[in-house]
Symmetry: C2
């Protein structure tokens, strides 16, 4: 799948990537090593969950026989290490760093030492319950962790050529194939991920067996919907590894029917998008039309009925899950950072299957909003849950909203999101282009230099842009004369207009054509300067009226960036505000606490709070709400909660 | 406190009371005896709670030594029997029934047999953990059950003069006084109720010791806010009797500070109103001004900031509790039937303290809405939770709303609400009048005949009315000549106008005066006909704009009855509807599935559902919602969910 290398030069993204390199990776390293007294914020008030420290690397040391002791933490604690290693790999590709490489090499050595002779890798079961390996797959996360290791291994091998990491991963894959492949026991993991990891090994090595095994797991999933229950009945363990999960339904695990027959996005949101990522990858890599059709159906269900305007998914905290069509509550939802990361993976794989701009649009929506919102501007505080409406009093005093944090905690009891975010930000260069045959799609507009292979020829593409501040993207293309290719520029759905010029001339019908969200400049060869101008004027959006919680409300965007109101700018009780979507908006550049942003003001009204002593309920004819004109001040959603605990709202009532 | 007897003759209430007598009491009797295969609906999906059967009377048989076996069910299972007995008592006062009396007498015999020699009564601890009596008061519900028994005993003694029930209750009170009174161990119950029960004994017997003990429990509560925790540390039991409660806060139990110092309604809503009922009773009975002031503050907080328009209280399912000011979500709240029953108790006691119409208004609001909504029209199905907005899909697919049932279940795992409802409906005659010194307040308008003692003279008051269908109330008063008294007619806050005539003449300034919600006809003696005409035109109401969930919405009432929209009358997706509060409403009498009601129609609009295939988010300027005029059809809230599972909404957007 490797078709070139892209180097990001964009200040907007370099800042984030530098935060990953300078803050997240070293910070996470210390956490993994228990060198930090972490102010853990528990996901829920579940005192049965141990999470006072990470212990993740210590688990490997114990499994490797270097230290004595017990496993500590989640059964999937290993994956924190793997995700860290994967983020390090991307970071090293961007900027070599000998001391970081040394750390990572030592982690690889440790992982290899913790691997058992037969190839099994998984510290919990190696240390605590070896007799129970692969016997409680609903909750054990064994293949989930293996998948993350394979992803990390592929990336780290690509980054520095470390043979040991690849060997370890291949040995693990072989072990899993033997144990659970077509000739082994029937079984698949409760948390999809191995299917992605195997595809990464496939793309790296070209070995068909990994594609076949990934496809096998996808194909047998849900064919026996009682499998998890049956395995539970004969589970030799004393207690389930993670409590409570057995109460959740088959939909939670996407085993209610075989994935290839599924039509809707069900269950745990991260699991679902990981499943779809693997399915779309297998479909693109093998031409499996049934699998592609299933991906298309589930995609349509997400995008048409179950996705927030921020690219967030997962309408309820209970099971961190999808619920039902058009159910998109703004203040009780989950919208996990990891789920939006996974949605980007899914979109990227769908782009390999078909050149449809919507995939890029959703990727961009998730990236600039829910994903970036997942981290504080300092790179050291993280959201799991990315609400569209927050009232700190509710977070504090209504236990039904206690999962909705008004400020980002330092680290999380279940530490999946921060390293997932780090690996995405560190690899964002990989999502800019999709190259296939004689086509190169430009999905993301990020200043960068890319050396690609398209149509068998080498192509150099340089993007210069202040996007998303500016809508002007200058693209220098230098392509071999005898390898013509089509360059597809994504025309975002949010842009009211667009303009493309090539070498100073309007790129009209003769050289260009619009199709399915991309504007193609066809049969490109030689050197050209292409300029794309997107319309960046602020726009208000309405949700489909079937979305109960958004009726009578609008949301503001500018380019790909969703905006929101914060209390610190607009006063308490944001629900008293309304906005005139037909009124004049003004954007103004600002460099301050929120970094370099464009603040947008708009005409609005505020209902006056009544004097004290008035009745809670008053006759409608005697109490027309008293309103005053105000100027509303919107900031980019991804910068919210960087100025202390305060109210926030994306959707605003219309005047 | 007994000041007379009131016999209800009103068809509206006779129907409910007949349902209590003919359906609820016999049905509950069978349940208590495990004679019914109950289709239990669990309150939550907590598999640790045993509730497949009631076993309540069997527990008594085992405790009495008649049968062998173990206690089964909630630790407070005994209270189901007591509440049944109390309902039976009121029912027998209304209409003697020898076979019902026999049943009840046999229950009294059984309870007396289950009482230990020293006076202790409580089947769980007698059977299972006698060494643990009064040692785990946070969760044990021992005094809670005792309080319910005292209430039942006082009522049953009053009804049929059964001496054994009174003796048993007094022996129990003496035991508790010895064990936990001023000369015993320090302690009070996690669930307030004993304080009410003791006051019932006080009012029946006139014995000051019961008043003193009630006051003592109220006064020591919260003086040591660590008491529950400390007792837990030395609890000799193997496990808490009810799991999970120890995670809840001191506010849940109203022990964060002494009740007399509390300003806001905190914690479990039923507990809070029971606490306040006792405080208001003690204040009225002893003239304790501090206690009255605390009641007034908490009342103001409830009524001004924490009460639904239906008289429901408890904004969250988590702890079935209050949350914070103006937090009144319509679709996730609790609004337990029992809590509104308790709010009526509280209001009734406040009326003894001060003649303020608002207490009657709230009593009426709770009674005609949340309380009546608690039972299906057949009297055999019950709501715990009384939502103001329901979407059956959400109840089914969003676990955060699984407590919100779209139809009333037959019986409930924790069976507090049905018997609580039964005892209130069976005793509703007691809330019609408040008599004090030379004043008789008419709080509720219900056709009835009352023989009262006011100002030391006997007074007969006959009400004739079709209220709440009609706003005309005809009151015949016949009073002794030498005992003049003031008759106060409550003028409900919802009535736009009122008109009072006495013997055909306008009751103007000379004979009548309006004060604090009552219109007083002063110095009444002899025979008079007073006619009160209230304005029953339908009215739309707005909530204080600080109530986030009701901004831009109105609710419809007619008289004391809150109305709602149901899907069966108005189609799916009720949130697409809006109403014109300035438009014309029409009421029409209807006799059908919902009984005899007035249906109200109003001008409104419906947003058209978009064609399939449109984007979930669309530019505001291209998507002005398409609306069509519709006629909305409202039904009384208390009749909702009697026509199968469907959407319901009290608050409706304005056009």
């Amino acid at each position: 799948m490797k078709t070139g290398k892209t180097v990001i030069t964009d200040p907007f993204w370099l800042r984030y990537r530098s935060v990953v390199r300078r803050e997240m990776i070293p910070y996470q390293w210390k956490v993994l090593n228990d060198e930090i007294d972490v102010n853990i914020e528990r996901e829920r008030n579940d005192s049965s969950i141990p999470n006072e420290k990470s212990h993740a690397l210590e688990n490997f040391r114990i499994a490797a026989g270097i230290h004595e002791g017990h496993h500590y933490g989640w059964v999937f604690q290993d994956s924190d290490v793997y995700k860290w290693l994967e983020a390090v790999a991307y970071s090293l590709m961007e900027e070599p760093d000998e001391s970081l490489k040394k750390m990572a090499d030592s982690v690889v050595d440790l992982i290899a030492q913790a691997q058992e002779d037969d190839g099994y890798l998984g510290t919990y079961f190696t240390i605590e319950e070896p007799y129970r390996k692969f016997k409680s797959l609903m909750n054990s996360h064994e293949l989930y962790c293996a998948g993350h290791f394979m992803e990390a291994a592929a990336a780290y091998y690509e980054a520095v050529g470390n043979q040991k990491v690849l060997d370890t991963a291949m040995k693990l894959a072989e072990h899993i194939e033997k144990a659970l492949g077509p000739d082994g026991e029937f079984g698949y993991d409760g948390h999809e991920e191995i299917e992605i990891g195997l595809m990464k090994l496939y793309h790296l090595t070209g070995e068909e067996r990994y594609l076949r095994l990934s496809n096998y797991f996808l194909r047998i999933r849900g064919t026996d919907e009682d499998f998890f229950g049956d395995q539970k009945k004969t589970d030799p363990g004393k207690k389930p590894v993670i409590g409570g999960m057995d109460q959740l339904t088959r939909r939670y695990f996407q085993v209610h029917k075989p994935p290839v027959e599924q039509d809707t996005a069900e269950g745990h949101a991260v699991r679902l998008v990981y499943l779809c990522t693997a399915m779309a990858d297998v479909a693109a890599s093998s031409g499996d039309q049934d699998m592609l059709d299933a991906c298309r159906r589930i995609w349509r269900n997400i995008v048409d009925r179950r996705m927030y305007i921020t690219g967030g998914i997962g309408s309820t905290v209970h099971g961190e899950a999808f619920t039902f069509d058009y159910d998109l509550p703004n203040d009780t939802m989950y919208c996990e950072t990891c789920a939006s990361v996974g949605l980007i993976f899914f979109a990227a794989q769908m782009l390999r299957n078909e050149s449809v701009g919507e995939y890029g649009d959703v990727m961009e929506r998730a990236l600039y909003n829910t994903v970036l919102s997942g981290t504080a501007l300092d790179g050291k505080h993280f959201f799991y849950v990315n609400p569209l409406e927050v009232n700190p009093a509710a977070s504090q005093l209504d236990p039904g909203k206690s999962h909705v944090k008004p400020v980002r905690p330092e680290w999380l009891g279940c530490a999946c999101c921060p390293p997932n975010l780090a690996r995405l930000l560190a690899s964002v260069d990989r999502y800019i282009y999709t190259v296939k045959e004689n086509q190169c799609l430009v999905n993301l507009y990020i200043s960068s230099t890319a050396d690609l292979t398209v149509s068998g020829g080498s192509v150099k593409i340089t993007q210069q842009t202040d996007y998303p501040e500016s809508g002007t993207i200058r693209i220098q293309v230098s392509a071999q004369q005898d390898h013509p290719f089509d360059l597809g520029l994504r025309i975002p759905g949010w842009s009211r207009t667009y303009e493309v010029t090539m070498d100073g001339n309007e790129a009209g019908c003769s050289s260009g054509v619009y199709k399915n969200g991309y504007f193609y400049i066809r049969n490109l060869t030689g050197e050209h300067e292409i300029i794309l101008i997107l319309c960046m004027e602020p726009r208000f959006w309405r949700a489909d009226p079937r979305v109960r919680d958004d009726v009578g409300k609008v949301a503001l965007t500018r380019g790909p960036v969703v905006y929101c109101l914060e209390e610190v700018d607009n006063g308490k009780n944001l629900h008293l505000l309304s906005v005139d979507p037909a009124g004049k908006t003004e954007g103004e550049t600002e460099d301050g606490e929120l970094g370099h942003i464009i603040r947008i003001t708009a005409d609005g009204r505020r209902i006056r709070e009544p004097e004290d002593g008035q009745s809670l309920y008053r006759p409608a004819d005697e109490t027309e709400p008293q309103e005053e004109n105000v100027r509303l001040s919107f900031i980019p959603y991804y910068t919210w909660a960087n100025r202390g605990s305060n109210e926030m709202s994306v959707w605003v009532r219309t005047v």
